[in-house]
């Protein structure tokens, strides 16, 4: 019990961020029309690709002769980049069509 309380008080900043972000996340997409569900899902998919930052940190901290850590990090960087780049490009392709429609 005490360890939980300690955990909360020593991480209170993060906990505040988490709670506020939950509300922001819900609030921000609250009124999305159903037409945009798929692109929005895809865009959100690209945003959670921010996990790539963790992969870069793992990679950059690894000792140069620790091949297991390097291998794990390297794979993580590739996968993370795929997620980010692929995600944004696919979303852009979907939305490109919406834009064209609007203009005509």
């Amino acid at each position: 019990m005490e360890s939980i309380l300690n955990f909360i008080s020593s991480n209170q900043q993060i906990i505040y961020i988490v709670i506020l972000m939950i509300f922001v996340g819900i609030e921000v997409i609250g009124h999305v029309p159903s037409v945009l569900h798929t692109p929005l899902m895809s865009g959100a998919n690209a945003i959670h690709g921010v996990v790539i930052i963790g992969a870069i940190i793992v990679m950059g901290k690894a000792e140069t002769d620790n091949y297991l850590a390097l291998g794990l990090g390297f794979l993580a960087v590739i996968l993370g980049t795929l997620n980010v780049v692929g995600g944004f490009v696919v979303t852009d392709r979907m939305l490109e069509m919406f834009k064209k429609k609007k203009a005509s």
Binding site: V50, L72, T81, G86
Partner: protein, 478 residues
């Protein structure tokens, strides 16, 4: 100084993520929103590479990092550019799986890092090295990321037809059991000494992999967009665990934001299909097997009448207003371009042509809009359901292209029907209804459609693209 700069970069990234999501939920600003978020992401990535310091030490292994970034960028761009419009959801699922795997690998690497630091004293319990909070973030990232990874791969396989729906009796109990095993392994690993920790840690990953597969396996292929959205929010949470681990605000905000927005989006998607999330996850009609058996036994009621191409062409050419109702059949046949051509030919004859778009026509929300947009169909010809329902009364001919459940009157009339209560396109208000289908087989809900047996309805069997091409030729000749 540089660390302050890094903080500011992360702040910029977090704000662009929020702004990006906000803009993405409005059709006018959606595309810019995507670019805004992408910009923030780029800032965050390069700031991390060049500015991040760990105990006053810069990151190294730049060659590896850039090699990974370049490989990922090239592969990601190619894959995203090449994929066909109809295969978009699969692609999203695959990318989501990559993100999940990335989060899991980070946790594994972090775990290994702790192990490596203390491996000289194998008798130390892991519990002494990491606090509960720290351990939970590592393990949660690993578990959630792994589930998201295998789940997304299965969802991807189901959408492109490589993997069939598979369920057995008591599957939900088995699933629960596997999930419990995951947690047991996690607790076991925490209690273990460093000397024997590898086995329980491997088990966590192993059971999580299996759970991901079992979780998605019984859910019907048609419900995959909802599942992908859910897994999407899982990956968001896994990314946030990474943010917790490194006290990295950009990862934390990005991850939680997607976690929350993804969950809400999942619920919204379910609502658009008038299903509850539990219903989808347990797969009551998405799986379709049971309902097909029950309803199929009843057999088709009554007689339907067929219409010849020439007659159909005639009716449409002399109509004042034709409403096209596209559905999954149109998507499968890739007939959107031919459909647009038919629209142009009819308009030359002075017929007013519009499209009635049901929010869940096709297999994902917005599917039809994207398809028809690809074929350059003008935006203002696409009517949303409510508007279309008002216009049907003054419509002469409704041409249904491979849609079924979204026009099934049972959703209004038959309280026993599994789709009862789902909002539908009320096509029966129009003077004539022409239904193009490949056969009399039911749609994905697996139920009969009374509409097909009504006197004003006539059937035009065949592949949507072929039929549309023939219709174009016939109408030109009228």
């Amino acid at each position: 100084m540089e660390l302050n700069l890094l903080t500011i970069c992360y702040l910029i990234a977090s704000v662009t993520f929020i702004l990006g999501l906000k803009m993405l939920s409005n059709p006018v600003s959606a595309r810019r929103g995507n670019l805004v978020a992408a910009f923030g992401m780029t800032v965050a990535i390069f700031a991390t590479i060049f500015l991040y310091e760990d105990n006053g030490e810069k990151l190294h292994n730049y060659v590896w990092i850039f090699a990974g970034l370049i490989i990922g960028t090239i592969a990601g761009t190619l894959a995203a550019k090449k994929v066909k419009m109809t295969a978009m959801p699969e692609m999203v699922s695959l990318f989501n799986g990559m993100g999940g795997a990335c989060a899991a690998l980070i946790s594994a690497a972090e775990f290994y890092h702790i192990y490596e630091l203390h491996k000289d004293s194998p008798a130390t319990a892991f519990a002494e090295l990491a606090t509960v909070g720290h351990y939970i973030t590592i393990v949660a990232g690993a578990i959630i990321g792994t589930i998201s990874y295998t789940g997304s791969i299965i969802a991807w396989g189901k959408l492109n037809g490589r993997i069939k729906d598979y369920s057995f009796n008591g599957q939900h109990i088995v699933n629960m059991f596997v999930l419990v095993l995951v947690i047991v392994a996690a607790v076991w690993a925490y209690q273990s000494t460093l000397g024997n920790i590898l086995i329980p840690f491997m088990l966590i990953g192993f059971f999580a992999l299996i759970y991901g597969v079992l979780f998605v396996m019984p859910i019907g292929g048609a419900d995959m967009p909802v599942v992908i959205s859910l897994l999407n929010s899982f990956t968001g949470v896994a990314a946030a665990c990474g943010g917790f681990l490194y006290d990295n605000k950009a990862m934390l905000t990005g991850g939680i934001l997607v976690g929350a927005a993804g969950t809400l989006l999942t619920i919204l998607m379910c609502k658009a299909m008038n299903r509850s999330l539990t219903n989808v996850l347990i797969g009551s009609f998405g799986g379709g097997n049971k309902t097909t058996a029950v309803e199929g036994a009843a057999g088709p009621q009554g007689n339907y009448k067929e219409i010849s191409l020439a007659d159909a062409a005639m009716v449409m050419a002399y109509a004042n207003r034709v409403m096209i109702v596209p559905g999954y059949g149109l998507a499968v046949a890739q007939a959107q371009h031919t459909c647009h051509e038919l629209e142009k030919i009819l308009e030359e004859k002075g017929v007013e042509v519009q499209y009635a778009i049901h929010p869940v026509a096709g297999r994902m929300p917005g599917h039809m809009n994207v398809l028809l947009a690809e074929a350059d169909v003008s935006y203002d010809k696409l009517l949303e359901m409510e508007t279309a329902n008002d216009v049907f009364k003054t419509t002469d001919v409704v041409l249904i292209l491979g849609a079924n459940d979204v026009v099934n009157p049972a959703a209004k009339n038959d309280a026993q029907s599994p789709i009862y209560g789902m909002p539908i396109l009320e096509v029966e208000q129009a003077k004539t209804v022409i239904v193009n289908k490949r056969s009399m087989k039911p749609g994905y809900a697996g139920i009969e459609n009374d509409l097909f047996f009504q006197p004003k309805t006539s059937m035009l069997f065949g592949d949507a693209k072929k039929v549309l091409q023939d219709l174009c030729t016939e109408i030109k000749a009228v």
